[in-house]
Symmetry: C2
C-alpha cells in the first residue's frame, strides 16, 4: 500500500493567516472570516479592497506574514509525518501569502490558489485554481492507487475529509464535531499521528 | 497560473541505485539494467532473487543505500526548485529503497512503488502501484489545473515528458536525444532551472 497524507494548512500547521494579519496590522475589518461573510469570493474581495485602501502591496503583506510562525510543534510534526507518508498540503489560501510560512516549514508540496499581482505589486484580483480543489485532489490521488488520509479543522475541509480513506478533524470547533459525528477528532499532533498510523497498520 | 515540477529520481537527483548498490556490495549481476533485460518486472525479479541468494534483507540493503549520496548539487537544486514550483518526484523505484536517499533530500513528496517484505525482513515480492504511473500523475495534475513541467533521463520518463506542458531531458544518453528531438535537453541543474523558469515566464 502507498499512502498520501493531505493536510489543511491554516489551523493545522499555521495560524489563521488573516486573523494574525489583522492583529499585526491593527486593521480590524480583516478579522472577518467565513463565519461573518459565508461566500469565500465575497470575503476575499472585501479583504483585497481593505488591503488596497490601506495601500498594502504584496511585499508589505509578505513582510507581515514573514513575522508569523507555524503553530508550536508543527515543523516537527510535519517532518515526522514526511518520514512515514507522502505529504501534500491542500489549502484555500494563496501561494503568495503562504510563501513566508512555507519557507519556515521547508517548502512542503502545496496545492492552493493564486493572487493576480500587477507590475506595481498591487493585488488586483485572485484566481481560485478550481472549485472544491481539496476533494478533487483526494479523488485524483485515489485514482493513482494511493490510500489517502487527511486532516482539517473547518467547513472547507469536510469534502476532503469525507472523500478520504481516513479523514480526521483536527482541533475543530464544537459545531463541526456535532455535525460530522462519523469523523475521528484529534486534539493535538500526537493524537493525529496515532489516528494516521492506526489506519496505516 | 499554478505550476508543478515533476522530477525523475535516479539520474536526476540521485545516482542509479542498483548500479551503486552493485558497486558497494560487489555483486556484479546487479549491474544489469533495462538495457540488458528490457522487461522491468523480469529485471526486478532477477534482482530480488540475487538479493535472496546473497541473504540480503531489507535492513542490509537500506544500510548500503544509506551510504550513497544524492548527486553533487542535487540538494541545493531541489531546495531552490521548491521555492519556485510545487515539486513531486515521480520514480519507478520503491519506497523502501529510496528512503535513505529521501532522508538526505529532506523528504520531498515521492510517488513510486512498494516492496513486499515478510516478517523476517526478506523481500518476497514487489508491487507496482500502477502501470505508466508517471504519465498518469502528470495527467491528474493537469486535470487539477496545474501547468506541469517535468525532467527525466531515460525511456521510462518519455511518457511523462511528452504528457507534460514542458518536458526536459536531463543528461540523457545520445540515443534518447536522437529519438526525441522535440524535447529540450539540459546538461546540468543551471540549464534545467533556466528551461523551467523560461516556461513559467
Amino acid at each position: 500500500m502507498s499512502f498520501i497524507a493531505c493536510l489543511d494548512l491554516e489551523g493545522v500547521l499555521v495560524p489563521e493567516i488573516w486573523i494574525e494579519f489583522s492583529k499585526k496590522t491593527g486593521i480590524k475589518e480583516l478579522q472577518a472570516t467565513t463565519r461573518d461573510i459565508s461566500d469565500y469570493s465575497e470575503l476575499m474581495k472585501m479583504r483585497l479592497d481593505v488591503c488596497a485602501k490601506n495601500q498594502l502591496r504584496i511585499n508589505d503583506i509578505k513582510e507581515v506574514i514573514s513575522q508569523m510562525s507555524p503553530l508550536p510543534g508543527a515543523k516537527e510534526f510535519l517532518y515526522g509525518l514526511k518520514q512515514r507518508f507522502q505529504v501534500v498540503i491542500l489549502s484555500d489560501t494563496f501561494y503568495q501569502f503562504a510563501e513566508p510560512l512555507m519557507k519556515q516549514l521547508d517548502y512542503p508540496t502545496l496545492f492552493c490558489h493564486n493572487l493576480v499581482i500587477d507590475d506595481a505589486g498591487r493585488i488586483s484580483d485572485f484566481k481560485l485554481r478550481m472549485n472544491d480543489q481539496k476533494r478533487a485532489a483526494v479523488k485524483a490521488f485515489k485514482a493513482l492507487n494511493f490510500k489517502v488520509l487527511s486532516a482539517g479543522d473547518s467547513y472547507n475541509d469536510i469534502s476532503m475529509l469525507l472523500e478520504s480513506d481516513k479523514g480526521v478533524l483536527f482541533c475543530p470547533p464544537q459545531n463541526v464535531i456535532d455535525e460530522y459525528p462519523q469523523l475521528t477528532v484529534s486534539s493535538n499532533y500526537a493524537e493525529l499521528n496515532s489516528a494516521f498510523d492506526e489506519f496505516k497498520g
